[in-house]
Subunit: 191 residues, 4 copies
DNA sequence: TATGAATGAGGCTTCATTCAT
DNA sequence: TATGAATGAAGCCTCATTCAT
């Protein structure tokens, strides 16, 4: 069923993600990636022309994955508030399930190393958040401020919340942290 | 008048900060730092045994600087809310005045490259924030939640706010962003 | 016909031996070795992870070579005395034919630089000498002293003899030196 | 009573000897020597213009010391054999008392690093050995061979003997080793 | 005499990338 | 597609030596 060629590419991406989060972009030689992935050095460069391209590809995949995860079930919610809570819950769930991906994204965002094209492109995937905020403003449930500012504040608090939630000792403790954190954010947003 | 020995060390630190924020830790060879600082290669390693030690030293300096800047004038404020606003204003002011330092700190925080000793040590400088939140809880003006969580949420939103404020086109626009951002944070915190 | 990969490794070893004996371990940069061997810098480190590993490998090869050379034809000799003479002749012949190898071994033996693992391991190759001495003692033709002491004395005189023989002007002079040197050693050993 | 200046020079020489034998010439930076000797980096280069000059000076001192030690009491002995035994005993005694000096000499002798001037010059101090051998030949007690060869054989066996004697567990064991070793050498030399 | 900050050439090694097979 | 030997530029760091004080 599987294309064996694609399998190698996938193995490289999977291994790269693990190693990058464990050792950083610069602490991870491409030779190590190929060794751990069980392919030859040349194979990596057959699928990705440069190390940077490998990193970019990884970035796009993860961003896509994150966006998809956050939207899940959002259409079932009615109010803007409920939708934002759903997004928050999804985000935290995804973040705690894939801590390597979160770590990768953060490393990527703060590395001067990488081409900014991928960085900007990725932003577009979160435009639905902006739309949601705008909707809330129109309805009068969200503060009538610059939507960009609100999205930015929301996103940054969310990233702090995910970090905190990931370090929770038990699932129930995590749930409480998430609930309180989402309240913080909503109280900050609401009109 | 100046101690010439100290001058060279300072020149290295100053140059390193600029280059690290422009090109990243790994994009900045030590040879470039010494050249730009106007000293010999060996001189850098006379003052800092390794590149890592240079980065750590820079980190500690900046953290210290940031903590001092944030506390400025805090004793004049009476209420917890006023104190938090003052801290917020200070933080944003410092961040927009020293964008390289902000950039450096973020890069440092997300780099697997660097020893975590400096990282943990740095945290201790911000314990006063925790104390302030605790005071607010006791007074009933702040939500009665885990203070660590609140500090974490506050700090992360603040970092988003600083980024937004730094990109403001005019001072008056910046002021507005800051005011709105601090309202967001306070509304999230308040009981 | 030749494995081209092995050829490069051999070229490196051959060049390294020459340069090490001419200029010493520390007077020979790895960059010079690779240049003279006609390979890239990286190639040397592809075959030998460190300079030390290169030196160790060279040491083991030479030790092996020496041991093999010394044993040559020994089985044809009957008496212990004849065997010892044969070994002595072999040793001197090998030493004068490969002065670089002798020089390398001496430099290696007296360099704190190098791992002692290779050093000890090498000793095992000369256990047959000990056995021969023991046999002579049992037969009553060799002094009944600690065999280790006798081997040690024999080996050290032999190294002096090789040095002297190598500096002989003519082959016939060399033969005479060797004959006299072996007499010295045998007279020292015999009961 | 002591010239304080001379004290520093002596401290440097003493420290250098220790460090050189422990870590090798190349494993011992001059900076470490000065630090351990308790002087400034510049001071070392005030007394010795280069590192090489320091090593050479050390070499000459030790060679002188060794020659003096070996001759001790030789005039009391009558026969050539007795004199050679006395020299042998002296040599072993000196060698086991000053293992660092032996180690230093060997390292020096096999290092391409160092100027050969000092090396050759040092040889002259042992001409008395040659004279002694010549005397033995004239008397008919020593083999009538090239005296240079005999001295060379004797010297090299002696160095093996010293190594063996130094590793003796008890003084009485050492004495036995030395007696047997000197017998080996004399039996090799005698007519 | 003595100091130690400063120098800079040079050493070892790494690693992204290529290319013949 | 896949391999892995080979490349060589470039990085970090060492250390003998100098010189102003």
């Amino acid at each position: 069923m599987r294309d064996p060629a694609t399998d190698k590419q996938e193995a490289i991406l999977r291994t790269a993600l693990t190693l990058f989060t464990e050792r950083g972009f610069f602490g991870t030689p491409t030779s190590l990636i190929s060794k751990e992935a069980g392919v030859a050095t040349g194979t990596l460069f057959f699928y990705f022309r440069t190390k940077e391209e490998l990193i970019d590809t990884l970035y796009r995949r993860i961003k896509e994955d994150a966006a998809a995860a956050m939207c899940r079930g959002i259409e079932k919610e009615k109010s803007v508030k409920a939708k934002l809570y759903r997004i928050g819950l999804n985000a935290v769930a995804w973040g705690t399930e894939h801590p390597e991906k979160i770590k990768f994204m953060e490393q990527f965002a703060h590395s001067q190393f990488v081409s900014t094209t991928a960085q900007e492109e990725g932003m577009s995937r979160f435009l639905f958040l902006m739309d949601l905020i705008r909707e809330g403003i129109l309805q009068g449930t969200v503060k009538d401020l610059d939507p960009e500012l609100l999205v930015s504040l929301m996103a940054s608090s969310m990233s702090g919340l995910i970090a905190k939630a990931s370090s929770a000792a038990t699932p129930s403790e995590r749930e409480m942290i998430v609930a309180q954190g989402l309240d913080f954010i909503w109280d900050g947003l609401k009109a």
